[in-house]
């Protein structure tokens, strides 16, 4: 998988971020003070019904009727489980997204739209969400979908703190079910973010018999869902097939089946697309993508992705931290920033498929991105790096080519990267060489992604100096990315243990600033501060590279984030086979 944000966390982040689209213009934070913020899209009562109407009458391709064709998708990694409460994999999310419904979903403009709930109302104080369920929604075993299912799903996740979803239900008090079609969800704090957008609704009659412990090891081999597709067959290590759910409450999908095929190698996968064995690829690495452009009947698409890869530095203040304390000196971090040539990284590690990185708000979020001036930029300037280090007294005292601090400690650090993410390994090699030219020695090692994830997030005793990986932000709002380096995120997303009170204060301020010009000023300030503190060296903003065949299925909507592997599931429902 190319889009390696540590893919261990990618799904979590993607979902998290998708929620933020709502907060975008609105409040930007789940902080209690945001209760005054208008949660426009979903909160207001007229909006949902309007979009519901739009959603139920298909605007495009009115002639499209259900076919008996199979849409063939190629991917290079397979789901870990069909249990939405234990999965960590992006592939599982992609499949479960079609098998289960959420109460609300996303349309092709990445705007919220009704899904299992035809409408939702938010109480004026933001603490009560009332979902009106569709009367014709049914589980694939024939039982109707009722508010009891919503109650079970929300309350169980909250009570047993199951899965990633529990973080959106932290403040849940109860779910009331006055009738089968109405679920009234009460929180003890205002909810700026609507959890209906992310939590898959599970059938109570199947899951409620299981204890939390049983759920933890439940493989859910035959998922009973309410979505547009159902699982037909999963040949593990090989393929997974979905078939159309004819009892689906909405417009039926045009594809009769979706067959996901696992390729152990992305190159072979690309050849399979060229040869016509599959119709679309979920992700394609840069050098392979280049080989697909110009192939007959293949369209290689490059879409914005709102993600970045970065070098993180351990600045933890934890007593148990085993990181090299020299990295807590901003000068050294800045010198590393100056040593790094980001354009070279884009050219060589990404084969040109991206933009040089700077701040943690990706370039794709045009109106929010802050770009350093030529003066401010800490990039591709090894002389400046040397100057900084010389001035701070880091010089090579013993002639071994590596600088030492005044008390004789060498500027030698460990650098780790994910073995299977070749773009990162390449970047790490280039970074190591760049650092060497300014007299800083980096010892590069690669780890598998799980080990790297658990090494980095060892909050109490992080035993590492620098790493390479990335964040995948999925929706165009700066709030999520800006929230990563908060003190309060140590133990959660904060992967470098950066903690700065002034930064935190700015974050709270921007989260409650409704005027976008004023907010922009604040977020710029935050980006600049975090850039200058250089705990992250953002390397690049990469493009999302995918490819599909043009002669088998038509009507792919090329939306930011990708034609598949994206929040909206519309493409799966709407693409049309060529006759």
């Amino acid at each position: 998988m190319y889009q390696h944000s540590p893919s261990t966390m990618a799904p979590r982040l993607m979902v998290l971020l998708s929620g933020l689209i709502l907060l975008v213009a609105a409040c930007g934070s789940a902080a209690p003070s945001s209760s005054t913020a208008p949660t426009e899209a979903i909160a207001g009562s007229p909006a949902p019904s309007a979009s519901a109407a739009a959603a139920s009458s298909p605007t495009a391709a009115p002639a499209a009727t259900p076919s008996n064709a199979t849409l063939r998708v190629g991917w290079s990694s397979e789901p870990d489980t069909m249990n939405p409460l234990t999965t960590y994999s992006t592939e599982a999310d992609e499949v479960l997204h079609l098998v289960y419904d959420t109460l609300l979903g996303y349309d092709l403009e990445l705007k919220p739209k009704p899904e299992l709930a035809s409408a939702v109302e938010t109480s004026p104080d933001g603490t009560i969400l009332t979902y009106h369920l569709r009367p014709n929604a049914a589980w694939t075993d024939g039982k109707p979908v009722t508010s009891a299912d919503v109650k079970y799903t929300f309350e169980t996740i909250h009570k047993e703190s199951l899965s990633q979803y529990s973080q959106w239900l932290t403040h849940l008090i109860r779910v009331a079910t006055p009738d089968p079609a109405t679920a009234i969800v009460t929180f003890d704090k205002p909810q700026a973010f609507n959890p209906g957008l992310v939590v898959p609704i599970l059938p109570e009659h199947i899951w409620s018999a299981k204890s939390a412990k049983e759920i933890q090891s439940f493989a859910n081999e035959q998922p009973v869902g309410s979505g547009p597709f159902k699982l037909a067959e999963w040949k593990k290590g090989e393929s997974l097939t979905l078939e159309r759910n004819d009892a689906f409450w909405g417009d039926p999908a045009i594809a009769a089946k979706i067959a996901y095929t696992l390729y152990s190698n992305e190159d072979v996968e690309a050849q399979a697309l060229k040869g016509g064995d599959v119709d679309v690829l979920t992700e394609v690495p840069p050098t392979i993508w280049d080989g697909l452009t110009g192939a007959d009947n293949v369209k290689a698409v490059s879409l914005p992705s709102w993600s970045f890869h970065h070098i993180g530095m351990n600045v933890s203040d934890a007593k148990g931290s085993k990181g090299n304390p020299l990295l807590k000196d901003t000068t050294i971090r800045q010198a590393l920033g100056y040593a790094l040539d980001r354009q070279q990284l884009v050219e060589l590690a990404l084969a040109g498929h991206g933009k040089a990185g700077s701040s943690i708000v990706p370039l794709g979020m045009t109106e929010w991105h802050w770009e350093p001036t030529a003066e401010q930029a800490m990039n591709a300037n090894p002389d400046k790096a040397k100057q900084l280090l010389d001035a701070a007294g880091y010089v090579d005292r013993n002639g071994d080519g590596v600088r030492e601090s005044q008390d004789g400690r060498p500027l030698e650090f460990r650098l780790i990267a994910i073995e299977s993410t070749s773009v990162d390994v390449r970047a790490a090699q280039l970074f190591r060489d760049a650092a060497a030219t300014v007299g800083i020695k980096l010892d590069l090692a690669t780890l598998d992604e799980n080990t790297l994830g658990s090494t980095v997030y060892n909050t109490d005793a992080p035993d590492w100096d620098l790493f390479v990986w990335g964040w995948d932000s999925g929706v165009p709002d700066p709030d999520y990315m800006l929230g990563v380096p908060l003190c309060s995120q140590i133990g959660n997303n904060n992967d470098v243990f950066y903690c700065d009170k002034a930064y935190d204060a700015l974050y709270d301020q921007q989260a409650t600033t409704m005027d976008s010009v004023a907010r922009k000023a604040l977020t710029d300030q935050m980006q600049q501060k975090f850039y200058e503190d250089a705990a992250y060296l953002v390397m690049w903003y990469q493009d999302k590279l995918q490819a599909y065949r043009t002669d088998t299925w038509t009507g792919w909507a090329e939306i930011p984030g990708g034609v598949v592997f994206n929040f909206p599931r519309e493409n799966y429902l709407k693409v049309v086979p060529n006759q």
Binding site: G291, L348, G352, D433, T446
Partner: protein, 292 residues
């Protein structure tokens, strides 16, 4: 009675002469000699600087040209120079891992065969246990558990390839120990250590050597396999890691034969060299064991 060192030298020369006289043996020696020269002198004539990367995306995976005789890799580096550099690491790993394996195998084999009794039973149980473990899965598991530095890879391969050597050495020692001249020396009051050092060892040496040559071939293949499966040290250039990155970066699909073929051919040449030499040596030193 005592084997004189001049005699030993003569016997070594004679053995080499026999290998050289054999067509396959000679081919093997030539292949190995060529590789050794490439590994020793190549990097001096054509130094490989891993930092010498391309300048832009267009310098990635370029076909061979006047400047890059074997094209460029996924970072725009020279494949010809990398292949030469790779010879060095592949050989070093192969030789060092084999050294570990041979030392353990010889120590175990000699002590078991010479001492017999309980020590023999215990050591051979132990050896048989390791013989019965499937080699490639064992190496993979150990590499996955112990990490991916070059040193660990050498240790892991060394630690997993000694049992066959131990077995072969033991059986040779068993027959030696009952030979007249050993019995006589012992009756003259020589210590075990002395007997082993100056007689047994020298007599099993040819066999150990023939075995070594084959073990190196196996160790080089093992390193390449580990590296290809993503368990090598990705920071170092070996033929295995080159093939790993070629596979990862889609070199094959882009038809970049110049990146896929040279490291593979390098592996085949070296391994074939060792196998041919070992095969011939084995036949000469050990005419009864022709089925190896």
């Amino acid at each position: 009675m005592m084997v004189l060192s001049a005699e030993r030298r003569a016997s070594i020369r004679r053995t080499f002469g026999q290998v050289w006289a054999d067509r396959l043996g000679r081919t093997g020696v030539v292949l190995l000699g060529a590789t050794a020269i490439v590994a020793l002198i190549g990097p001096i004539l054509f130094p490989f600087d891993p930092k010498q990367v391309g300048t832009s995306a267009s310098s990635i995976l370029r076909a061979p040209n006047g400047q890059h005789w074997l094209g460029t890799d996924e970072l725009g580096r020279d494949v010809f120079r990398a292949t030469i550099e790779g010879a060095r690491l592949s050989l070093v790993i192969g030789l060092l891992a084999t050294a570990i394996s041979i030392v353990i195998g010889s120590v175990v084999g000699i002590s078991a065969g010479y001492r017999l009794g309980r020590l023999d039973t215990v050591l051979m149980r132990f050896t048989d246990f390791f013989l019965v473990l499937p080699a490639v899965p064992l190496i993979i598991v150990l590499a996955a558990l112990f990490g991916q530095s070059t040193l660990m890879i050498i240790v892991v391969i060394g630690l997993t390839s000694w049992p066959a050597t131990a077995r072969i050495v033991r059986s040779q020692v068993l027959s030696l120990r009952e030979r007249q001249f050993i019995l006589r020396i012992r009756s003259l009051g020589a210590t075990d250590v002395r007997i082993i050092r100056s007689h047994i060892l020298w007599n099993v040496m040819p066999l150990i050597f023939a075995n070594t040559v084959l073990v190196i071939a196996g160790a080089i293949l093992a390193e390449a396999t580990l590296a290809f499966l993503g368990l090598g040290d990705p920071v170092q250039v070996s033929w295995g890691t080159m093939l790993h990155f070629a596979f990862e970066s889609g070199a094959t699909g882009r038809g970049a034969w110049w990146y896929v073929l040279p490291p593979g051919i390098g592996i085949v040449m070296v391994v074939l060299g060792f196998i041919l030499a070992g095969h011939t040596l084995d036949r000469i030193l050990n005419p009864r064991l022709r089925n190896r």
